[in-house]
Amino acid sequence: MNPVRLRERAAITRALREWFDHNGYLEVHTPTLVKSPALEENLEAVSAGGAYLHTSPEFAMKRVLSSGLCRIYQIVPSYREEECGIHHSREFTMLEWYRVHAGTAELMDDVESLLRAAAGAVDRELPLFSRRSVQSLREAANLTDTDDEVEWFRGWVDGVEPLLTAPTIVHSYPAWQAALSRERRGVADRFEVYIDGVELGNCFAEEGDPTTLRHRFSLSSAKRRQMGREPHPVDEDLLASTPQMPRVAGMAIGLDRLVMALTDATDISQVQVR
């Protein structure tokens, strides 16, 4: 545990809260112990006493949006089983925010402005982010099209991520990676932010149609079963609330990774108290 890094982490967190405050976002607290964790096939939740620790506050925050609040954010511990490495930790801190009447374009501006404020808190400057589509990056890495999902991601990890050394916003993901985002013009309306080749966060223009969401959940459950994983229960409260949810975009950033990027840490354990 390095006291200098802990001070820097605190300074960054303070700057983030100030930014949200200044931009009209309300801080909310949602339960971390939940009945239905994320339904994505590649996320494994930590079980706890017949329930789960949330993998992110996404579902609960979307239910908050249905109550009429327009800009909300949260900084909260989140948990993912089977994730451990220099950029992964079973327990980590998620920074997540939602903005009503906004799409991915507005959130791209939000995240750049926010990250610049965070960098300023530790006397760092971030260059302008370049904005690249998934397709253009795959072409730059000389990757050919593939139907095999594992090979697609292997190409991404081996070929594309090493190209993303400068701060980059990656957008227009293939529709099969829409997860909970809207589809628009044949692609998923979502983006990710990379610094130093490391993914810091993900943004969705949120899909609100319960039928579409239920269909995606069932595809995901089928994939989980195929992979020998337990399907997680569907969050019926979420599906009941999304028809009241306005047009909204939401973004999640791994706070530990952000601190790593801004303090030149080489291992996530250097920015956490273990």
Binding site: N42, E82, E83, H88, W152, F153, V157, E161, E199
Partner: protein, 190 residues
């Protein structure tokens, strides 16, 4: 087929077999694209040639454990083509081709004990002791009192290596060398 390693077993120094060749894991990193499957990026160094492979394994893929064993053996002599080592308890001797230990052979001191790595029952490579002592067989005469930081000159050692040493070192002195960095450590009092 022998033992296999899961991606979660990966660590630096792990010895594995790929396409019938022995490799050592020299780098590994867990990676997981946002909505994708988990992978482990690795760098694998061929135990003999030193060539480095970069491979990325999906969680669930496995690597075959290399069939290796290590044995402490005493270095006896070389005949130019082979280096000969002996087990000090059984007196059993083995010969390793010079080209397999080209990086180490210049630091082999007769009677020193090294670790010999056997792959599939045959001696393959050696690991030197961390420190060796060897006499300077040639260098420019020592400059007394010159302790200028970082000033060095080349010196040839009895074991065969040429390394940089401080200017005050003289021919005939015995030096302690760190074989991992291949650098001068100190003079040895005789």
């Amino acid at each position: 087929m022998g033992r296999v390693y899961q991606t979660s077993d990966f660590r630096n120094g792990l010895k594995v077999e790929i396409d019938g060749h022995p490799y050592t894991v020299v780098y590994f990193q867990f990676v997981k694209p946002g909505k994708g499957t988990a992978f482990t990026r690795t760098k694998l160094k061929h135990m003999v040639s030193g060539n480095v492979l970069e491979r990325t394994y999906r969680t669930g893929e496995t690597l075959i454990a290399a069939d290796v064993e290590e044995e402490s053996m005493q270095y006896l002599y070389n005949d130019g083509e082979f280096y000969h080592f002996m087990n000090e308890e059984t007196y059993e001797q083995v010969a390793i081709p010079a080209k397999s230990i080209a990086d180490e052979s210049d630091f082999l001191v007769e009677n020193d004990v090294v670790d010999v790595l056997y792959y599939k029952g045959s001696p393959l490579i050696i690991t030197l002791p961390n420190f060796i002592e060897s006499e300077v067989t040639y260098c420019e005469p020592g400059v007394r009192g010159n302790t200028a930081q970082g000033a060095t000159k080349p010196a040839t050692l009895a074991c065969g290596a040429t390394i940089n040493v401080p200017l005050f070192i003289d021919q005939g002195e015995v030096l302690k060398i760190d074989t991992r960095t291949k650098e001068y450590v100190s003079r040895v009092q005789k």
